[in-house]
């Protein structure tokens, strides 16, 4: 290893990456009494984690595969960490966006006067640790273990407010995630272990061609696809809208990046390293999953159009976008799978920006419904402009990163002569346009009705009546020295601008990702 980690064996450094957020979590707990020190600890942990993860990049790019076997959990099956390019990408975005989200969360949680902030940041760190665990998992058992820890550790974040609604949502959340994973995923995993005798991730898959002939592969693949409930394939998607009851930073990092990406990342890992893309081409009966994914893409988009609550609309949009990745993985084409892997990154940056904006609107304009946001773009220009950029990326327009991933998935569909899925992708782009652009249009061109303006002011006054306004300059509305502008605070805007810029940069650097992933998907 290089830098500060010089002298570390890469395998040990993998463990370090896993341990850092856990230490951070307990640091948060210990410093709970001192707000600034606690949040400083969160930020410092996030930075350390990203630093460590970043140190792996040159190693993996050069073909290295850091690996460490920790111990046997059951005879013949160990807990093992291995870093390969896909995991590197997932770990990279999760750890980078954690820094950004921590910044944002500090601004949001304080601006919104949330309670139990120590508990919040504690479980947040644990959730990140498990997401990193999923990224680094060296075999399916390890992946499953961290996957489950992630489900359980995010429950307190979803049910954070403790209201009846939060409880009900928490029930749906944990109910669906645990039952699909125990009912299907574990089942499929043990079955795989029975047949193949291994759960290691092997390029090209663990099954031989003979085993691929029967209908078994299709059944197994379905067990995995539905068992990984975090990928939100319909009809097991209800947990994701339910999770929107959580504070916005949770929705942003966990339910746009860490948790849902852990899901699609697992699907991708399973397809590439357990089944193998070539085997998928041979196996009969796997097509129906493509149609399930395509249905999810379209149906979730249509549901999203009908949501007036901005966070809910974004949630259904996520359900739809996740199925792009599932679709790309299941197309049994290297190019489409590459598109899927890229979409993990593109969607992460786009969707986190959108959620950041939604949260900023909640905290600083006290609006949750899109129909109330008419003309709000004049008050919060930066927020709405960033929302616009991220929307473009999600729709797949240049010059935004989201274009490339969609391009590759569509290319894969065309390559395998499944033009119906090319059509699905195109229709869904139009639908994306239809449910994301109205927000921007309302914001910039909608007539702000006088009544709603007053309503907002009243609301604001109430708010200030109950809580002293945050008086730190970083937490106050930003006016940029102009009349009529009162955008989100610096602590909230900085992350928004960073991730929105990321969306643009990804357009230009997408090829770096493709080259980095060459060892997985070929040239």
């Amino acid at each position: 290893m290089t830098g500060l980690l010089a002298g570390w064996a890469p395998g040990d450094a993998l463990v370090l990456a896993l341990v850092i957020p856990v230490i951070g979590a307990f640091l948060v707990l210990a410093l709970g009494r001192w707000e600034n020190a606690r949040d400083g600890a969160s930020l410092l942990t996030a930075a350390c984690l990203f630093y460590v993860v970043a140190q792996f990049y040159p190693i993996v790019a050069a073909g290295g595969r850091p690996d460490i076997v920790l111990f046997d959990m059951v005879p013949g099956l160990s807990i093992r960490l291995t870093l390969e390019p896909l995991g590197m990408i997932f770990a990279g975005i999760a750890s980078f966006l954690w820094i950004v989200t921590t910044l944002y969360a500090i601004g949001y949680m304080r601006g919104h006067h949330e309670e139990n902030q120590t508990r919040f940041f504690f479980f947040f760190a644990i959730a990140i640790a498990s997401a990193i665990g999923v990224a680094l998992a060296g075999n399916m058992l390890t992946l499953f273990v961290f996957y489950e820890v992630l489900s359980v550790s995010t429950f307190p974040l979803v049910a954070h407010h403790g209201t009846e609604e939060a409880k009900r949502s928490g029930r749906i959340y944990l109910g669906i995630l645990l039952s699909t994973s125990i009912g299907f995923l574990l089942f499929g995993m043990i079955w795989t272990w029975q047949i193949a005798g291994t759960l290691d991730f092997v390029r090209g898959g663990v099954f031989n061609a003979e085993q691929a002939q029967g209908p078994m592969i299709a059944v197994l693949l379905a067990l995995y696809a539905f068992g990984i409930g975090k990928a939100a394939l319909m009809p097991f998607h209800r947990w994701l809208p339910a999770a929107m009851v959580a504070p916005t930073p949770v929705s942003a990092l966990l339910h746009a990046v860490a948790v849902v990406k852990a899901g699609v990342f697992s699907v991708l890992k399973v397809v590439v390293y357990i089944f193998g893309i070539d085997l998928l081409k041979l196996a009969p009966g796997t097509d129906f999953l493509l149609y399930v994914a395509a249905f999810t893409i379209i149906a979730a988009s249509i549901v999203a159009m009908r949501q007036d609550n901005l966070k809910l609309r974004l949630a259904y949009s996520t359900v739809s976008q996740l199925s792009y990745i599932v679709l790309g993985a299941m197309l049994a084409s290297d190019i489409a799978a590459l598109g899927s892997a890229m979409h993990i990154v593109m969607h992460a940056f786009g969707k986190i920006t959108l959620f950041f904006c939604a949260g900023a609107i909640i905290v600083f304009a006290h609006k949750t419904d899109i129909s109330d946001m008419k003309g709000l773009g004049h008050r919060m220009p930066v927020t709405f402009f960033c929302f616009f950029l991220a929307s473009m990326s999600l729709i797949g327009l240049p010059p935004m990163g989201g274009m490339w991933s969609k391009w590759y998935i569509a290319l894969g569909a065309a390559e395998t002569h499944q033009l119906v899925f090319v059509a699905v992708l195109m229709v869904s782009s139009l639908l994306n346009l239809a449910y994301l652009m109205p927000v921007v249009l309302y914001g910039f061109f909608g007539k702000e009705s006088i009544q709603s303006e007053e309503g907002a002011d009243n609301d604001h006054d109430d708010h200030e009546h109950h809580h002293a306004p945050p008086n730190h300059p970083l937490l106050r509305h930003m006016t940029f020295g102009r009349e009529g502008i009162s955008d989100a605070s610096f602590m909230c805007l900085l992350p928004i601008v960073l991730t929105a810029t990321g969306c643009v940069l990804l357009f230009f650097y997408a090829d770096r990702i493709r080259i980095f992933l060459t060892p997985v998907f070929g040239g």
Binding site: V74, S179, I182, I190
Partner: protein
């Protein structure tokens, strides 16, 4: 474990004591128990019982180490050779069970002190510890003996003392619960002894190893088939196999908390061990188990029990009763492992025996501590308990996650092995049953978790109010074990695998 055995040999006098450890394991608690009557004092008898059970635990560890190092131990009582004399045999299977029961027995005592002082009236406390040691003796005896009749004797010792222990519960309904258990337990023991009598009629022997060689010659007779049926039903009653479980919920719910912890983690486990021993060692040479439909019957009964127990647990408002029904469900997993009659299935059943003892012990300890502080364990009274008793509730949460079978807890290891075993036999519907029934566990566990963490504590409830440290430490130890052996399932699975091999043995008629 083996290292522990070598350490023991380095102690003074070890060489003289070592050959007699199998009998000392039984005799030490048996002879020490009546001394409580002389002591009469609550604190002194607690101290005495603690010392004795920890010694028993120590002996069990040494025995397990010895078995793992050098294999089967045979001890002839009074040097009378078998089959005339009584013989104790210790192999990997019962050495493991010995460790489980003595460990739970030892760790429950520090916990029991405060809890018993609160729940049992002072003049009766010395009787409590007396009965506790006798019960431990009975359970140890069942486990060590290799004589079918001797097993009955110990079965009665443990049963009679547990009736007394249950009846010491504070609520008057403890008396009826205990009475009910007495009736059912006596029926079970009677069935068992009838079975043993029939076997004796056909073979003229009571020694298990001897029976195993003699029975195959007469296994086509209706008498032996009847004997087998009587034994299975009799032990089925003691282990709370599904339709025979009716004594269990009330007995667990109304017994003093410490008794619930002890019995839930040991009594049913020992009965399961006895069933294993009879089915696979005594009748192992015959094909009565797999040849007839008895194994199929066990599987059906186990599956129904797994679902019915969990389903009823969902509707309980008393958390202790809820856990009791959960035990009925969990016993189903162990019976299922027996019913599979394969080495992998048995391994799953045996490892769950250990795992369930650990997690249910932790769960009942947590609930007992809540009872100690709140005075009730009805769901309504536990609102916001997560804020009032954070450590206790955290322990309950860990145990609850383990009941569900989430990874990093022991419950996952059991489930993994059982599902794998059923898939190896090609019984995917059994595998699906195992996984689906654990989904029911999510519901009953989460009902408590929600009330504990997401409901506001009632007005006037004092702030943080934890149980005394003497109760907290044992439950933390068990919760830590739940996680430790959930991560390092390798060790327990290997020992359970050896135990399964010891039971299936070369003479067994089961499928490999």
């Amino acid at each position: 474990m083996t290292a522990f055995y070598t350490y023991f040999l380095s102690l003074p006098f070890a060489a003289a004591i070592e050959p007699h450890l199998p009998i000392l394991q039984v005799v030490v608690p048996l002879l020490c128990a009546p001394i409580c009557v002389l002591l009469r004092d609550a604190k002194l008898s607690w101290l005495w019982a603690t010392i004795v059970t920890w010694i028993a635990f120590f002996i069990a560890l040494v025995l397990l180490g010895k078995v793992l190092a050098s294999g089967l131990i045979i001890y002839e009582l009074g040097s009378w050779p078998a089959p005339w004399g009584i013989e104790y045999r210790i192999d990997a299977a019962n050495a493991l069970v010995l460790v489980i029961i003595t460990a739970i027995g030892a760790i429950t005592l520090p916990y029991a002190k405060a809890s018993v002082e609160k729940e049992v009236s002072e003049p009766r406390i010395y009787l409590f510890y007396l009965m506790y040691m006798l019960c431990l003796t009975g359970l140890i005896g069942i486990t060590t003996t290799a004589d079918a009749f001797n097993l009955f004797v110990f079965l009665e010792i443990s049963s009679l003392s547990s009736y007394v222990l249950i009846s010491l519960g504070g609520n008057r309904r403890a008396l009826t619960a205990s009475y009910r258990y007495l009736i059912m337990g006596t029926l079970g023991a009677t069935f068992y002894i009838i079975g043993v009598g029939l076997m004796y009629m056909m073979t003229g022997s009571l020694n298990m190893a001897d029976l195993a060689t003699l029975l195959p010659a007469v296994d086509h007779t209706r008498t032996v088939l009847a004997a087998f049926a009587f034994v299975v039903v009799g032990l089925g009653l003691k282990l709370a196999m599904f339709p025979l479980h009716t004594w269990l919920p009330n007995a667990y719910a109304f017994a003093p908390s410490a008794v619930t912890v002890f019995l839930a983690s040991t009594a049913t486990k020992v009965a399961i061990y006895a069933l294993l021993r009879l089915v696979f060692t005594v009748f192992g040479g015959t094909d009565l188990f797999t040849g007839t439909d008895i194994s199929l019957m066990l599987i059906i009964v186990a599956l129904v029990g797994m679902f019915a127990g969990a389903f009823v647990a969902i509707f309980q408002n008393d958390v202790k009763r809820m856990l009791a029904y959960s035990s009925v469900s969990q016993v189903g997993y162990m019976v299922l492992g027996i019913g599979m009659a394969s080495a992998a299935g048995l391994t799953g059943g045996i490892v769950h025996l250990f795992n369930h003892a650990v997690m249910k012990g932790a769960a009942f300890m947590a609930v007992g501590a809540m009872f100690y502080v709140v005075g009730s364990v009805r769901l309504n009274d536990l609102a916001g308990i997560g804020k009032r008793m954070p450590v206790t509730t955290a322990v309950f949460l860990v145990a609850g996650l383990s009941l569900i079978g989430t990874p990093v807890t022991v419950g996952f290891i059991s489930k993994w092995q059982l599902v794998q075993a059923s898939l190896a036999l090609g019984w995917w519907y059994v595998a699906a049953g195992i996984l689906l029934s654990s989904l029911l566990a999510i519901v009953y566990v989460w009902r408590v978790v929600e009330v504990a963490y997401l409901k506001a504590p009632p007005e006037g409830a004092a702030g943080r109010n934890e149980a005394p440290l003497s109760m907290l430490v044992p439950m933390i130890v068990l919760a830590a074990a739940t996680i430790w052996f959930g991560i390092d399932g390798d060790t327990t699975l290997r020992i359970a695998g050896e135990a399964a091999n010891a039971l299936m043995g070369p003479a067994s008629g089961g499928k490999p």
